[in-house]
Symmetry: C2
Subunit: 322 residues, 2 copies
């Protein structure tokens, strides 16, 4: 992914510096945990999208740096809380923050980062941007709650699942692109198109995440395989198996999931069905469709290295293996 961010390499460094400055606090743990998760949190996808979209519309000022930092803070706040909720001990190959500093600290530093991101946004004095990010944050929490409520629910529909994915992952990514377009002075139509682009690649991103849980090895993804299934999270590959097996092993899968604790044989049994029905391929193909819709949304953009990066990014998201 880093190659794709080449047009905004310098700006991403400015975002890193802004993040470090914004993590200075009287509470040393805020600085330690904030920096740790900022470093281990991942790919800088969200700040990169703010930067790429704003630059795609010709913007080169400071506003995008600060807002890119704000969206990264929202993202790492949710990572901190998600890891507590999932009881995760690893994040991208390193011990999770909750594992290192405890759940209490992770919850509180997450809250701090939420508030800090709000504070950074307020300093930019742009109500429309704040409205977009506030709405995305709300949707994210709502999606996470809906996911929690649908744990172990094998009757979850594909439609409801896409709704959850949209809220918990795609809305913030969509808002990043929308915010970039607003900063860049894009037209109403272009702002909407960028929001749609973000939503589409966001859904694709989450669907690929779902497949990686089934196929990636622990080292690369930094988390154990089939974690979602073990936690009772029904994702697209499993939904596809359940549909394909509705007159077959569906009852047995139901029994396995209901136990809330899967042994290696049971994981193997379900993995066999995932393989038999090409459910990973089905999910990747679905992600590919969303990514293609995302590329369609880029049509109204003027040609630029950033537009190319956004287009390539939609492909990269589908092809990535971590």
């Amino acid at each position: 992914m880093l190659d794709l961010f080449e047009p905004i390499q310098k700006e991403l460094e400015h975002v890193e510096n802004a993040a470090i400055n914004n993590l200075v606090s009287d509470a040393a743990l805020v600085t330690s945990i904030g920096s740790y998760i900022a470093k281990n949190g991942g790919k800088r996808l969200r700040p990169a999208l703010v930067l790429l979209t704003s630059r795609a519309f010709g913007y080169t000022g400071e506003k995008s740096i600060n807002l890119a930092c704000a969206v990264e803070f929202i993202h790492i706040a949710t990572l901190l809380h998600d890891d507590v909720i999932d009881g995760a001990d690893m994040r991208r190959g390193s011990p999770s923050a909750n594992c290192r500093w405890g759940n209490e600290a992770s919850i509180l530093v997450g809250d701090y980062l939420f508030s800090k991101s709000f504070s950074i946004m307020v300093n930019e004095h742009d109500n429309r941007i704040m409205a977009s990010l506030a709405n995305a944050s709300m949707k994210m929490a709502e999606g996470e709650v809906q996911q929690l409520m649908s744990k172990y629910d094998i009757n979850l529909s594909n439609e409801s699942y896409i709704d959850i994915v949209t809220k918990k992952t795609a809305e913030l990514i969509a808002s990043c692109c929308e915010v970039g377009a607003i900063i860049g002075g894009a037209s109403e139509e272009q702002i909407k198109a960028m929001h749609s682009y973000g939503k589409n690649i966001g859904i694709a991103f989450q669907l690929i995440d779902d497949t990686l849980d089934f196929i990636a090895d622990r080292k690369k993804l930094g988390k154990p395989i089939c974690n979602d299934m073990r936690e009772g999270k029904i994702t697209m590959p499993l939904l596809h198996v359940l549909e394909a097996e509705k007159n077959g092993a569906r009852g047995k899968i139901e029994d396995i999931l209901r136990k809330h604790e899967l042994d290696q044989d049971e994981v193997g049994f379900i993995m066999g069905l995932v393989s038999k029905h090409d459910s990973i391929e089905h999910t990747i193909a679905t992600a590919g469709k969303y990514a293609a819709m995302g590329r369609e949304n880029l049509k109204s953009l003027p040609d630029s290295p950033e537009k190319n990066a956004l287009s390539n990014l939609s492909q990269f998201i589908v092809n990535r293996d971590n």
Copy 2:
């Protein structure tokens, strides 16, 4: 406290209705937990302060209703997270939300309420108000982190303790009063005075909370006695004992606290010292001083039933028994 809120009884009902409307969500748990904690969360102190201060400066419009709802959402979000962090099973005589719905749901619904409150604020289009509340939220989380870091630390200074109390409790209360004054069109000087009033009564409020943990019975407060001490939280009564016993039982108290699990005898031993040194009385007297400073801050306000209520409130906060 309810009597004191008589001048704003109707407005408080509007806030309740606004809260109910703002808790409508696709995720049923958001509505259930949000309503539950809003009902069991307590005294409506923070929304009442927004309403009383705005009315004290002659404001009677809708803005104060919505912002009162936003501050209550911030407050109940922190209650949800605090109860997870403290592993609390009760809140004001009822099972805590985390006890009823689980930690995961409490964390996520807390996040939802934070975002929702931000969203409500954004709709009011007032950057100064947002800046005040964003800063208060940040300070709150920072104070909670500092409290976490100073658990079991018998070398905590009185000054550091007041700093923690100011951040974790008084800053939001100060912001509520500041926001009310801004809505009411108060002068700069009056806005500052109202912020100081809120900070002073906020500190008093927390110090009394600290004493109630030592003296209130479980039924009234809805939580077990000496919970703070059992959790390793060093509050003012204990700080007072530690100072008084610096050439006496300090070493023994240190040993007891370090164990991280206190038996009934040990609680009794410390309670004996609290009683011997009048540490509750000392803490109440300190709270009284802050409350008196709060009343001083009201001098620049024009006379009104709301000003009287704010003055009486500062006294009530010190005299309350739950």
